[in-house]
């Protein structure tokens, strides 16, 4: 069965771009516009294999979402890849402390992102 990837970003353009590329690579995609929706999707869909999450979002940003996600033991092992802009070393360090698996700088090459997902999800 195709692994499910959750894409959390307030930019529809990014969600669409990432979603299309991953769907073409055979993943099934869930989308959320912010951290609140992201957590909701995770609670609804227990079989999510990984999360790609923007840092800067309204309502609940990516770091808050990550912290809440990792605080729940049932989701602590879920790999999360953060999206950020270049130069934000402190945000990345904070994300890694909070348990992010890795991070990607926007803009990125979509095929590389797919390769990264494949490496993390392993299928």
């Amino acid at each position: 069965m195709a692994a499910t990837v959750l894409v959390v970003d307030d930019s529809r353009a990014i969600r669409q771009q990432v979603g299309d590329a991953l769907a073409t690579a055979g993943y099934s995609i869930l989308e959320a516009e912010d951290g609140v929706q992201g957590l909701l999707r995770i609670s609804e869909q227990p079989d999510i294999a990984m999360v790609i999450c923007d840092i800067n979002m309204p309502h609940m940003n990516g770091l808050e979402m990550l912290a809440k996600l990792k605080a729940d033991p049932s989701n602590a092992a879920l790999p999360v890849l953060m999206l950020t802009t270049e130069g934000k070393a402190d945000l990345i360090q904070q994300a890694k402390r909070s348990g992010a698996k890795g991070w990607i700088v926007k803009p990125f090459k979509v095929d590389q992102l797919v390769a990264a997902v494949r490496k993390i999800v392993g299928r």
Binding site: R12, K88, A89, G102, I104, F108, Q112, A116
Partner: protein
């Protein structure tokens, strides 16, 4: 014979390794032979011969090698001396070992010949063989008891001699093989090493003389000692354990942390290696110098063993590119100046004001974001791409950094703006503020009025309006901006209609409003007007329409922008308002939410709009000037934004004028009656 000699005699050259090896062997040999003194004394005592004679003979035999050890420079010559010494020792042992065991003492010759192979020198063995042969023959003839304990025939000497020859052949073979395969191999390695170091030297010469710097970095970030001369000049010499971000951080500390986390991503091995490498900084600045950084991974068995960092000084190239951009922007500025000088001046004065506020450290948070956003929009409108792009980056940074702006960004903005301002001043000359420009028809009208009998106050009023701006001029300018935004946002060509009235506005008082009015234009074009394809699909004309109107209703001045786009998606506004914690129960509350900073129904952020900032700004300025905003929208039909100011006749910054009146004519237009408002 020649081959035999070349086999027995070693090549003249002695490698450092051979010299070192023989020095050790010769020292051991000397000690070994000195140890013979007590042993031979003991043997003599056991054999019943004279221990004293044993001691004297052994000492005499040791004088030669001891002197040679001190004097000979060539270690191979010393080995040959030891070949001779060894046989002397054999002879002494046979001599002092006279008695029943004397024949067995001959074994020692064979032992010693075998041992001589350690010198890796066939000549030492040949010397020993010759020595022992002569020794036996001479003593057999002169002192046979010294050699044999029985009455041996000459054939016994011949048999001994044959055994010595046989063993010597074998020992020579071992010694020569030892030399060729061990000592000589070292020579081969040495010569290859020399060739390699020659090539390395040549290579280094090349590397040191190209314009790029080369550094090798270990996977943990430590910079190896190998680096080209230029790289050493740029980032400093080798310091054990020093990391690449520490080296680069000495050039520019600001990016060191970023480099470190980006490098950590490689070590974490979560992302594909090429992706992690792509995330490393590509540029590095050191004062006025900018370096480009390229990374070449060295992969062995699928693992990163080292990274080659190639640094190039690209300052000159960047300067050239920057100057091209500036040139292009300058040309656009020139075109704007020819087309709409007033508009450009107004933009300049407004933008100048914005920049001076933005670079003030006290201004932070939403206020700073609003200012940057407005400046960005205005710059984009006037085609100042470099400045607009800078503002766009700045805005993104502000969002991530919680609304704070770094000192270096402030400085950078000040520098870019300063350059633009000086360009503009050079285009305008210095007297722009001192001029009043009048078009020909107005000039003729006033002249005619002076020739006729128009009232003096009226003419004075007319001249006063020369510093005012007509609604037509303003709306024409806005219409051009609107079309420009439309084409940039992929909305195709827009049908922009202007409906001005005769109102005249004092530019300095209205510039802030018009400047923020561009937010309303952007919203209408970007959010309101659908793409040409969407419009055709819902049965609308391909070209979107924007209507810009100024009108007077009673004593109220209306400035309106109306589009025939998709209208406001109130459901979406409700959803967003609810999510943002804003009131969202009534239509009034939703209208209020539309003007709230940070609320946008737009899915993506463009250079022009989408961060939900502008609408709040335009309403704030309208209210500051005593006005109000009305919004009407029908989903699928369009939106109209109406800015209204009541009691216009009491305002000093707005005039409504008709044609110059003549005192003899009574039928004045309504507008002319209330000309001074």
């Amino acid at each position: 014979m020649k081959r035999l000699i070349s086999y027995l005699v070693l090549p003249v050259e002695i490698s450092a390794f051979e010299r070192q090896y023989l020095a050790r062997m010769n020292r051991i040999a000397l000690i070994f032979f000195f140890c013979h003194i007590p042993v031979f004394i003991g043997v003599a005592a056991l054999a019943g011969t004279s221990p004293t004679r044993a001691a004297i003979l052994t000492l005499l035999a040791l004088i030669g090698p001891a002197v040679a050890y001190k004097t000979l420079q060539n270690p191979r010559h010393l080995s040959v001396v030891f070949g001779f010494t060894a046989m002397c020792m054999g002879g002494i042992l046979v001599h002092i070992g006279q008695g029943s065991m004397q024949i067995e003492m001959h074994f020692y010759f064979f032992v010693l010949i075998a041992l001589l192979a350690v010198f890796a020198n066939p000549l030492a063995i040949v010397t020993a063989a010759v020595t022992v042969a002569l020794h036996h023959l001479t003593l057999y003839l002169l002192l046979p008891r010294s050699v044999f304990n029985y009455d041996a025939s000459i054939w016994a000497v011949v048999v001994h001699f044959v055994f010595v020859i046989l063993e010597s052949v074998a020992a020579c073979f071992v010694a020569r093989s030892f030399f060729d395969n061990v000592i000589g191999l070292e020579k081969i390695v040495q010569s290859r090493t020399n060739a390699l170091s020659d090539r390395n030297r040549d290579m280094r010469l090349v590397l040191d003389n190209v314009g790029q710097g080369f550094l090798t970095i270990e996977p943990n970030g430590t910079v190896s000692a190998e680096r080209s001369a230029i790289a050493a000049r740029w980032v400093g010499g080798y310091v054990p354990g020093k990391k690449i971000w520490e080296h680069l951080g000495e050039l520019d500390s600001a990016g060191a942390d970023w480099f470190r986390v980006a490098w950590d991503s490689i070590a974490d091995d979560v992302l594909p290696l090429d992706m992690s490498i792509d995330q490393l900084p590509r540029r590095w600045t050191a004062g006025k110098t900018t370096f480009s950084l390229e990374y070449r991974p060295l992969i062995v068995d699928g693992r990163l063993t080292q990274m080659l960092l190639v640094m190039s000084d690209v300052s000159a190239q960047l300067e050239r590119e920057q100057s091209e951009i500036e040139q292009r922007d300058f040309m656009r500025l020139f075109q704007c100046l020819l087309k709409d000088k007033k508009g450009l001046l107004e933009f300049f004065s407004e933008a100048d004001d914005l920049v001076s506020k933005i670079v003030t450290p006290e201004v932070t948070g939403p206020e700073l974001r609003r200012l940057v956003h407005t400046l960005k929009g205005n710059c984009a409108l006037f085609g100042l791409s470099a400045l607009a792009a800078f503002c766009h980056d700045l805005e993104s940074n502000l969002l991530d950094a919680g609304g704070a702006m770094t000192g270096s960004k402030r400085e950078q903005l000040g520098r870019i703006w300063g350059l633009f301002a000086s360009n503009l001043r050079s285009l305008l000359g210095s007297d722009r503020a001192d001029r009043v420009e009048v078009d020909q028809t107005e000039y003729a009208a006033v002249l005619d009025a002076l020739d006729g009998n128009a009232a003096r106050e009226e003419i004075a009023l007319r001249i006063k309006t020369w510093q005012f701006e007509t609604a037509r001029t303003r709306l024409t300018r806005i219409a051009e901006q609107t079309r420009a935004i439309g084409s940039r946002l992929g909305k195709g060509s827009l049908n922009v209609v202007i409906e001005p009235n005769d109102v005249l506005l004092f530019p300095e008082s209205w510039s802030a409003f018009w400047s923020s009015f561009t937010h309303a234009i952007r919203n209408a074009v970007d959010h309101g007007i659908e793409s040409p394809e969407e419009r055709l699909a819902v049965g609308k004309p391909r070209e979107g329409q924007i209507r810009l109107t100024t009108k007077l209703l009673d004593d109220e001045l209306w400035v309106e922008i109306a589009d025939d786009g998709r209208g406001i998606a109130w459901n979406l506004v409700r959803e967003r308002a609810a999510a943002a914690g804003l009131p969202h129960e009534s239509r009034e509350a939703l209208v209020e939410a539309l003007f709230h900073d940070g609320l946008t129904t737009k899915g993506e952020i463009s250079e022009f709009s989408g961060r939900g900032i502008g609408m709040g700004a335009v309403r704030a300025i309208c209210r500051k000037m005593g006005g109000s905003v009305q919004i009407t929208s029908t989903e699928g039909k369009g939106t109209c934004l109406s800015f209204r100011w009541s009691n216009v006749h009491d305002r000093l910054d707005a005039l409504v004028l008709g044609p110059i009146s003549s005192p003899t004519i009574e039928n004045q237009t309504q507008e002319a009656e209330g000309h001074l408002q």
